[in-house]
């Protein structure tokens, strides 16, 4: 959670403003009820026709009510402004810290899931500010204010009043959230299981119909939904205690202050109006406990989210930058020498050796899962091999600055995304300063230029969510154009045509080979290869590379 404290510190001013307004809302509420009670009782005791200075108390009543209206509005706005600012800082922090980590080791397989969880985790943390930091701080200040007033008016009530307030507002919510944690975790797990079965039902609908197993699958879904219901009801046993404990805490604290106050009144140490005022003050102060209680219910989820984010932020980078980077020769062969790689205890690559001379074209065939992608990832140093070494121009790529290495080698995969943004934005990722002529040149080589020219906005066409959509083949061509814009002399192509219709696949592969002429190419694929397009063809089988 340390990173979160740093984030809060970065927005101290916004937070202090929000806190000041939260406190002001609470205090004006206390003043409003307290003075009202005093005023009402004092006027009664003064009696009809008495000379009574109504100006000060009645203007205090009106004043505090108006201030409260303003501070309530300000509290909501400033609290949300601070929260949104902190969330925005958190997004930027996570994004920038993730850069050295890619590919995130465990998440490489299912990036979509990972991204969804990451964004979800960040959103979960917004409650920490709004429902925890601010209300708790405001409750503490209110407790202090109550203590100061009581010290002057009814000192013997300080301990039960402050004790009751803090116990109800802080202790009870946190104890309950801890006790309810196991039930909460169980509910989260069951919800995830239900989601799995729902996805099976939707994604596997065709298989379910074809196999005639709808009743079987429905039965499992039904059981999972019932299990989730039971888990949530167990969780509700704890959460239901919160409002009850609040009622009890408020009532008992008020009764205690009342009892002490009655005694003090009997001995003349407190006036009637002040006694009424103190009882009402207690009622107003407990307004602080509501938000804390609601926040504590979500504390478990927020802690889990913070823990996962913290783990990411503290993770070791996948590869280390050399302290003194070696300089690469102007050109040279890319070679892997006796390379081995394990994923956990599962060997992925075993004793792989391969040399790609400048300008050579190499194809690696093999089933998916045979280790082709891993080899390409090692060649571009997304990870380091366990055994052996990869050299470019005779220099171990571990000794080269990754930015320089990535200037020499580029990777294009079937998952290479089209980013939200314009076509121009997408292409300029490959070459930030390229002019339109250069961009269209690359599009022409990827055979997408005609399509882009026909668009009303051309290169300025917005892609992605709420924008124009490209067909799968067009998206690959756009990514190809982006890759062609980069100066890299060596191109690694990881199944660049997988998942496309066969005729489109064949066209695209032919176009890729034409467009990349003059560069070194390593193509990993399970597709059929055009005759004579490659200098050498290898076959990867269970992590071993052999000439095909």
């Amino acid at each position: 959670m340390r990173f979160f404290v740093e984030l809060l510190r970065g927005r101290t001013r916004k937070l202090l403003l929000a806190l000041a307004l939260s406190v002001a809302t609470l205090l004006t509420g206390m003043a409003l009820l307290g003075v009202s009670g005093w005023f009402l009782t004092a006027t009664y005791l003064a009696g009809i026709g008495a000379l009574f200075n109504i100006f000060i108390p009645s203007s205090m009543v009106r004043g505090s009510s108006f201030l409260r209206i303003l501070s309530r509005y300000g509290e909501r706005v400033s609290g949300h402004a601070a929260t949104l600012a902190i969330l925005s800082d958190l997004r930027v922090l996570v994004f920038s810290r993730l850069i050295p980590l890619v590919p995130i080791r465990d998440a490489a397989a299912r990036t979509g899931d990972f991204v969804a969880r990451l964004t979800g985790d960040i959103d979960t943390l917004d409650m920490v500010v709004l429902q925890l930091v601010l209300p708790v701080a405001a409750a503490l200040v209110a407790a202090l204010g109550l203590g100061v007033v009581l010290a002057f008016v009814l000192p013997e009530a300080i301990i039960p009043a402050i004790g009751g307030l803090l116990a109800t507002t802080l202790l009870v919510p946190f104890v309950l959230s801890r006790l309810g944690q196991a039930a909460g975790t169980e509910a989260v797990g069951r919800s995830a299981h239900l989601r799995t079965l729902a996805l099976d039902g939707a994604d596997g609908h065709g298989d379910i119909v074809a196999l005639g197993i709808a009743p079987l699958v429905s039965g499992e879904f039904d059981k999972a939904a019932r299990d989730l219901r039971a888990a949530r009801l167990r969780q509700a046993r704890w959460t239901a205690l919160g409002p009850a404990a609040m009622q009890l805490g408020l009532g008992l604290t008020m009764a205690a202050v009342l009892w002490i106050g009655l005694g003090a009144h009997a001995t003349g140490r407190i006036s009637g109006p002040m006694l009424v005022s103190m009882v009402l003050l207690i009622l107003a102060t407990f307004e602080a406990s509501g938000p804390v209680l609601r926040g504590a219910g979500r504390l478990g989820a927020a802690r889990a989210a913070a823990r996962r984010l913290s783990a990411i932020l503290q993770a070791e980078p996948a590869v280390d930058e050399p302290r003194v980077p070696a300089v690469l020769p102007a050109s040279g062969a890319l070679s892997a020498g006796h390379v081995g790689f394990r994923y956990g205890d599962r060997p992925v690559l075993t004793d792989v050796s391969l040399t790609i001379e400048a300008g050579e074209r190499i194809a690696i065939l093999g089933e998916s899962g045979s280790g082709k992608s891993t080899l390409l990832a090692l060649l571009i140093r997304l990870a380091d091999p366990g055994e052996g070494a990869i050299r470019l121009g005779g220099i171990n790529i571990r000794d080269v600055a990754t930015s320089e290495l990535h200037g020499r080698i580029a990777l294009l995969t079937q998952d290479t995304p089209v980013f939200i943004g314009t076509i121009r934005d997408n292409l300029r990722i490959g070459a930030p300063d390229a002019d339109d002529a250069t961009l269209y040149g690359a599009l022409a080589r990827a055979r997408l230029d005609e399509f882009v020219r026909r668009l009303p906005l051309g290169l300025d066409t917005w892609l992605g969510e709420a924008g124009a959509t490209l067909s799968a083949g067009q998206a690959r061509r756009l990514c190809l154009a982006r890759t062609l814009l980069a100066p890299a002399a060596i191109l690694l192509l990881d199944e660049p045509t997988a998942g496309l219709d066969p005729d489109i696949e064949a066209d695209l592969l032919a176009d890729i080979l034409t467009a990349t002429s003059g560069r070194s190419v390593v193509l990993a694929t399970h597709a059929a290869l055009p005759e004579g397009a490659f200098d050498r063809v290898y076959r990867m089988d269970a992590g071993r590379l052999a000439a095909a």
Partner: protein, 594 residues
């Protein structure tokens, strides 16, 4: 789940009347629990009044009546009893509300899943499974607050302020009138503010969804950005976008929060008004009463003042639950193409009668399939397949191969006539149809569970040996035996990532475990490399012995091993000249494409 209270996306929805009625109708599922949860706050109102009355009595008795604290012992005991009763009521109320909401969510989930199962594969084609899943899990969860919190709060807010105000009228009519006038104004003002917020949020909606997607988008492509050396630049972009998003959200929130201010305005003014009015009455400055007001009555009015507005405040705090629920219903309505009636889940029918399997005949006459936006995909196709024949359908993807298999397999509606063993396909009951016809769909799904469990789906009573045999035939054991857990390896959503080719073979093993007379395989060797394809083709032919087989494929090597080959072009089925295997002794699958 964001706790930012105002979600403009949620309030900008408009629900059609049927959907609103559907949402109300879901109350039935909770039965009396929901009724109880709506009545409990009213009982709570009685206790609130009792507490204020007792407290005012004690204070007035001591301050104005000259009673000693010990005289008030009984009253204090009553006060404590009321306090405990309120706490107990809060506990019961929460649990009953949770019970009601959980019952409703369970019922809605069951009927959604039943509706999904009742849909045809044709309907599924146009749907996003992610949205359907999120509908059944997340959108249903969004109904929770509506039933657990908003509905009881709504009842309390429409009854309690009015009852309190009328009750206070008997104490002092001016105080009663203050509340009676101000309390109903609150929802009115809030509605006005709400409209403002809604139109403000609509204006920002497009930009907001675009911006909020940007962060996820850049994260997803982080590897690419890094490899191009662009990642650091994107940090700045993400920062600008997310700050822009925050600014736009704040613009909407500033209007939305006016409702908080309105609520506070009335609540604070109510308290202040009562205090000043009662005080001045005590001083005789407002001679509106014939009978003097006592201290107890005055204190009671003051203590009740915040309570009159509290139900409205609670309602406002839960108002976004209503907005979320309505947004969820709108989304379910759109995603599921209409909201489902409460329906029981399908139950397992009696096991299909075991009839000795025999190869089926297929007769197709004038088969025409029209697809939206593509015109006639198949146009008047005739085909006769004798029992035991093996047919290949060649052609590029999207040309209609799958469509033909789907029409035969009852996955798609068609014009014309398809008969299996002389019975029109539409006339065969679902249970026996699926028992006689096996269909391998194009992208088979592996279900959550183990590899063996996935194979077993085809025949739940199969023995382990049967499953191993089917898995071996489909060359599943080739890769499964290399895994530490073998066939018991977990697959599916949260299991080991399994490649497309491996999943294809597990799905084939499922078919090999069943005992159909007609086997329809759509691209059974997609994702397989040439060597594995040949092995799998051998297995398919082994299994097809004594059955009728139709294979849609773009692999010429696989097609050549069938008895007859057709090509689909222009919606027509064209025979491809072909010498059946046996006449040409080739090693399976090693030749080149024609």
């Amino acid at each position: 789940m964001s706790s930012v209270e105002f979600d403009p996306r949620a309030s900008a929805d408009s629900l059609r009347p049927e959907a609103k009625a559907w949402l109300s109708a879901q109350r039935k599922a909770a039965g009396r629990w929901l009724t109880v949860s709506m009545l409990l706050p009213l009982l709570g109102g009685v206790l609130i009044a009792a507490q204020a009355l007792t407290l005012a009595g004690i204070l007035a008795g001591v301050i104005a009546g000259g009673r000693s604290p010990s005289d008030e012992g009984g009253a204090i005991l009553i006060l404590l009893a009321v306090i405990v009763a309120r706490a107990a009521l809060a506990l019961v109320g929460e649990r009953v509300a949770a019970r009601a909401a959980e019952d409703i969510k369970l019922a809605v989930r069951q009927s959604l899943f039943a509706a999904l199962m009742a849909r045809t594969p044709e309907w599924m084609r146009a749907r996003s499974s992610g949205e359907l899943t999120s509908g059944m899990v997340d959108q249903v969860e969004a109904l929770d607050g509506y039933f657990a919190r908003f509905t009881p709060a709504m009842v309390a807010a429409s009854v309690l302020p009015l009852v309190f105000a009328i009750g206070l009228m008997t104490v002092d009519w001016v105080v009663g009138v203050i509340f009676l006038v101000s309390a109903p104004l609150i929802p009115l003002f809030m509605a006005l503010v709400g409209w403002g917020a809604e139109s403000a949020s609509r204006r920002h909606l497009g930009a907001m969804s675009r911006l909020s997607g940007l962060f996820a988008d850049r994260l997803r492509g982080l590897v690419v950005l890094k490899l191009f050396g662009r990642a650091e630049d994107e940090v700045g972009r993400v920062q600008i976008a997310t700050e822009d998003l925050a600014a736009r959200t704040m613009a909407v929130l500033k209007i939305a929060f006016l409702s908080s201010a309105v609520l506070e305005f009335f609540a604070a003014l109510g308290v202040a008004g009562v205090a000043v009015y009662v005080g001045l009455t005590f001083l005789g400055d407002i001679p509106l009463r014939s009978v003097p007001l006592g201290l107890e009555a005055g204190l009671f009015c003051l203590l009740m003042a915040p309570e009159v507005y509290l139900p409205l405040r609670t309602l406002a705090a839960h108002y976004h639950d209503r907005a979320s629920a309505r947004a969820a219903v709108a989304s379910l309505d759109a995603v599921f193409d209409g909201l489902p009636e409460a329906a029981p889940l399908p139950v397992m029918a009696a096991r299909r009668a075991v009839v000795p399997v025999r190869a089926a005949s297929v007769v197709i006459r004038g088969l025409t399939v029209t697809a939206e936006g593509r015109g006639k995909v198949l146009d008047g196709i005739d085909l006769d397949i004798t029992p035991g024949e093996r047919i290949a359908i060649l052609g590029a993807s999207g040309i209609g191969k799958s469509t033909l298999l789907e029409a035969i397999g009852r996955f798609r509606s068609f014009e014309g006539d398809i008969r299996i063993d002389d019975a029109p396909v539409g006339a065969i009951d679902e249970g026996s149809f699926r028992g006689r016809v096996a269909l391998l769909v194009q992208r088979p799904r592996l279900f959550h569970g183990t590899i063996a469990g996935n194979v077993r789906l085809a025949r739940p009573d199969a023995s382990d040996a049967d499953i191993r045999r089917a898995a071996a035939l489909a060359h599943v054991t080739d890769f499964a035996d290399r895994l530490p857990d073998g066939l018991e390896t977990a697959v599916g959503e949260r299991g080991r990532g399994i490649s497309g080719g491996e999943a294809q073979r597990v799905a084939l093993a499922r078919i090999f475990l069943s005992d159909p007379g007609l086997v329809l395989l759509d691209e059974p060797t997609a994702h397989l490399d040439v060597g594995t394809e040949a092995l799998v083709a051998d297995s398919i032919l082994d299994f097809a012995a004594g059955r009728t087989l139709i294979v849609a494929t773009h692999s010429a090597a696989l097609a050549r091993r069938m008895d007859r080959i057709y090509r689909i072009a222009g919606g027509k089925l064209l025979p491809v000249p072909h010498r059946p295997p046996g006449s040409v002794p080739t090693r399976a699958g090693m030749g080149d494409a024609p």
